[in-house]
């Protein structure tokens, strides 16, 4: 739209300034996602009454949401910042392999944890440098990383699954905090940190600025390149955390870990209302998007539907979510593009 779209009257916003218009709109959108979740629960209850409403089943859902949820939080930052990270699954695999090599395991638990996080972050930063300073479109830079990181993981592991001897990982997977499994606690912590980082810090503010209008951000004095690099580093760090979690679950490091995570993560972020054009999105939406995905998958599994059917349904869900979003946007936005 042009300058003509001036002074459109919007519903007035609270004067305390605690919620911007954007936050309110996404609040409405998140309500929609909650509604979808409720529908999914009803569907699960109807189709698999005994198994679905079981407490253990809920824990299973949350645990399987945990790993992809952490990856999706990192992805949310990259996408709000105007980029995309296709390499997340491959980084998870690479970090999981690197952190479980004989050399790493000899360093003990802390050495392994450091390896997971460092490898994830470093790989992400390589993405970031390629995108920010090499001026390669993030789609291509991270597509290349997707291929080479997984290749490197295969090379390091010699194609072998690496078994973890350090017992702490098993207890990480089996343990809980007040009945909440550790992995779910990790997701909650990561999501909370992500939310604070996005909404309460200058880093988050700059992320919205860089993704919303990078030229304006640059001329306002923000170091756009450095910030872009850091965003990919952050996504890599999230992948490192996810690698810890997946190694805990499987007690193995493998170059096949995290396959197609990029699709699940991007899908969840988009379902969660984050704009692929950048500049708009929420962590809460992303978490809800992850839950929608995992609950659906759980229902399919309980009803003995095969993975092919699951995948078809996943694709349909993504498309429906984006269509609905586009509609909601048009409705709330007065046609602003």
């Amino acid at each position: 739209m042009n300058d003509t779209a001036t002074t459109v009257d919007q519903p007035s916003v609270s004067s305390d300034g605690s919620a911007s218009l954007g936050e309110r709109l996404s609040g409405v959108q998140n309500l929609g996602l909650v509604a979808v979740l409720v529908l999914a629960f009803i569907a699960g209850w109807v189709t698999a009454p005994e198994n679905f409403l079981d407490a253990n089943n809920f824990l299973t859902i949350l645990k399987s949401a945990a790993v992809i949820g952490v990856v999706s939080v990192g992805m949310t930052f990259v996408i709000i910042g105007g980029g995309i990270d296709l390499s997340v699954g491959a980084i998870v695999a690479l970090a999981s392999v690197w952190g479980t090599t004989v050399a790493s395991q000899e360093m003990g638990l802390w050495g392994m944890l450091a390896a997971f996080l460092l490898v994830g972050t470093a790989t992400g930063l390589v993405n970031g440098i390629l995108v920010a300073y090499g001026k390669i479109v993030s789609f291509i830079a991270t597509l290349a990383m997707l291929v080479s990181a997984r290749g490197l993981a295969q090379y390091i592991s010699g194609g072998q699954t690496q078994v973890v001897e350090v017992n702490a990982f098993r207890s990480l997977n089996n343990g809980d905090v007040f009945g909440v499994p550790n992995l779910v606690v990790m997701l909650i912590v990561v999501a909370a940190i992500g939310w604070l980082l996005l909404n309460r810090t200058t880093f988050g503010r700059r992320t919205f600025a860089v993704g919303g209008n990078d030229e304006a951000a640059r001329l306002a004095g923000i170091n756009v390149k450095r910030h872009t690099m850091l965003l990919f580093g952050l996504s890599g760090l999230a992948c490192g955390v996810a690698a810890i979690m997946i190694v805990a679950r499987t007690t193995t490091g493998s170059s096949t870990h995290g396959e197609l995570y990029e699709l699940d993560a991007i899908g969840a972020v988009v379902i969660g209302g984050t704009s692929l054009a950048g500049g708009r999105g929420t962590i809460v939406g992303t978490i809800l998007g992850v839950l929608v995905f995992t609950v659906m998958t759980n229902i399919f599994v309980l009803n003995n539907l095969t993975t092919d059917i699951q995948n078809i349904a996943k694709g349909v869900i993504i498309v429906l979510a984006v269509l609905l979003q586009a509609r909601a946007q048009r409705g709330s936005d007065g046609g602003h593009t």
Binding site: V13, S15, G17, F208, L219
Partner: protein, 529 residues
């Protein structure tokens, strides 16, 4: 050339056209009548409604009220294609040809000569050659890739497309803006050929001398309404046309200047021999605290580039810039901002604002450091300061949590300036600060700039509107072809002299009609661009 035989019955009659966009009446009672075989000129400032009017005419917009009579029948075209098929063609400012396709493909785009879906390239090439010959441009080969043509060539292709639909009326929106002198003469020749065949032209241009040369009658728009129609293009005095377009005297808009230099402080900015290849050369000037320096020049003269280089957003090839007496080596925007420079860039929306975000967040963007501790943003102070600035600038509505995209152009510009008020900058660089800003808000911006200068801020104002530079600045640099060609106190400069200087020193005209120098057209009127 004026065709009088058809004078009684216009081929096009638009009556009382009203077009409303959210928050603004872009057209508010426009009347227009066009006769066969005439060149009817449409005049008006940016934002007067010319672009909206031709979009209504070509059925790209639907008017809320009013009637359009085409060839004696009242029409209501549903789509631009319908209008085109009825013989009503429009050539937009941005030439709408597709670079990857051939000349013939472009001419018949949308109504390809085909058989069962297969392009009949033989007959379309042949027909294309006929049309090009009729336009007197048989040198353009039908098979040629349009991307390889000059702007003038593309314009001919665009015109040929109109003729391929048997257009009886062609709207030309600032066709000369992309052409140089000889090409304009060619264009006029083509237009004369067309009108002698009975084709009518609606010709839009800011250049009065062109209108005198090619036009028959003139309609003047102002603030979305017709203020005069049927004026004789040759004999109506310039002063009359301009006073119709502006309808006001601009002088009173500007706040009074200080009489003497006593209020000026230290030299805050010293630019020496600054050059950037292909953009500007050997630019030197100095700026003192409390001074308003104006840069007058056309788009492409290098004025915006100079400003952005001083700001550190572009890197100079040679020359030095000293701030507060200190020469800075490697420049960057963050460094400039820390030192107290602020830039309100030329393109508000694409270069300055986060349209989806609130006023407060846009204002605090350059000063997040002050509103955060260890990276954590304290919400209260930010919104409180934004509210204070919002009140000071008389932003409407005075609500810092409101999204910027809902504001008018003038208020959006205030947000950009507000960002630097919030930061507390010492050198403010303003690039086209009043583009798309209505008259009332302009006056407010002018007095705001003067107030800032009185408080000791040094200001550089770049504008294509010479009266604006002369009215606002203390001292003026005239920029043409990447050089500063004249420097003087604004009090001793006359608008005509500045224009003459610019024209004499400009070798090529740049292709953005919207940013074209509005010769003698003073600021005014809300924008609908």
């Amino acid at each position: 050339m004026a065709d009088t035989s058809d004078a009684s019955s216009p081929i096009l009659l638009m009556e009382d056209i009203v077009k409303v966009f959210p928050g603004v009446r872009a057209l508010d009672g426009v009347d227009l009548d066009v006769r066969a075989g005439e060149v009817h000129c449409l005049l008006g400032q940016n934002g007067a409604g010319k672009s909206t009017l031709i979009k209504v005419l070509s059925a790209a917009h639907k008017p809320e009220e009013g009637t359009i009579t085409w060839l004696g029948e009242q029409v209501d075209f549903a789509t631009p294609l319908e209008a085109l098929q009825a013989g009503l063609a429009t050539m937009y400012q941005e030439l709408d040809v597709i670079d990857g396709l051939s000349v013939a493909d472009n001419i018949f785009l949308g109504h390809e000569k085909s058989r069962f879906g297969w392009i009949d390239s033989h007959s379309s090439n042949k027909r294309a050659r006929e049309i090009l010959a009729r336009l007197g441009h048989s040198e353009i080969r039908a098979r040629r890739n349009v991307g390889a043509l000059s702007a003038a060539g593309k314009q001919i292709v665009s015109m040929a497309r109109a003729l391929s639909h048997d257009a009886q009326l062609i709207v030309m929106d600032e066709p000369s803006a992309v052409l140089d002198g000889d090409e304009v003469e060619n264009l006029f020749g083509t237009i004369r050929d067309l009108t002698s065949d009975g084709v009518a032209i609606i010709y839009i241009s800011h250049r009065l001398e062109e209108i005198r040369e090619i036009g028959d009658r003139v309609t003047v728009l102002k603030d979305g309404a017709t203020v005069a129609t049927g004026l004789d293009a040759k004999d109506t005095p310039t002063s009359e046309v301009i006073s119709l377009m502006t309808g006001r005297n601009v002088e009173y808009l500007f706040p009074p200047r200080r009489e003497d230099d006593d209020h000026l402080g230290e030299v805050v900015l010293e630019v020496d021999g600054l050059s950037r290849e292909g953009e500007f050369k050997d630019v030197s000037f100095s700026l003192r605290a409390g001074e308003i320096l104006g840069l007058a020049g056309l788009v492409g003269s290098g004025r915006s580039e100079i400003l952005e280089t001083v700001y550190g957003a572009r890197r100079a090839n040679s020359g030095t810039t000293a701030y507060f007496g200190e020469t800075v080596g490697r420049r960057s925007v963050p460094k400039s901002v820390r030192m107290g420079l602020g830039l309100a860039p030329e393109e508000r929306k694409s270069q300055a604002l986060l349209m989806e975000q609130s006023i407060a967040r846009n204002m605090s963007l350059s000063d997040l450091g002050s509103y955060s501790k260890g990276g954590w943003i304290g919400h209260g102070a930010e919104v409180k300061d934004a509210r204070r600035i919002t009140d000071q600038l008389e932003l409407r509505p005075p609500d810092p949590t409101r999204r910027v995209s809902t504001l008018s152009g003038g208020n959006q510009q205030k947000v950009v300036v507000g960002r630097w008020l919030m930061k507390g900058c010492r050198v403010l660089l303003l690039d086209e600060p009043t583009r798309g800003v209505d008259v009332g808000a302009r006056a407010e911006l002018y007095s705001l700039v003067r107030d800032l200068a009185d408080e000791g801020v040094a200001v550089v104002v770049v504008s294509s509107e010479v009266p604006e530079v002369l009215g606002l600045a203390d001292r003026v640099l005239v920029v043409a072809d990447g050089r500063i060609i004249h420097e003087a106190d604004s009090g001793v400069l006359e608008e005509d002299d500045v224009l003459d200087m610019i024209m004499e020193n400009t070798t090529h005209v740049y292709d953005d009609p919207d940013r074209d120098l509005k010769a003698s057209a003073p600021p005014g009127a809300a924008s609908d661009e």
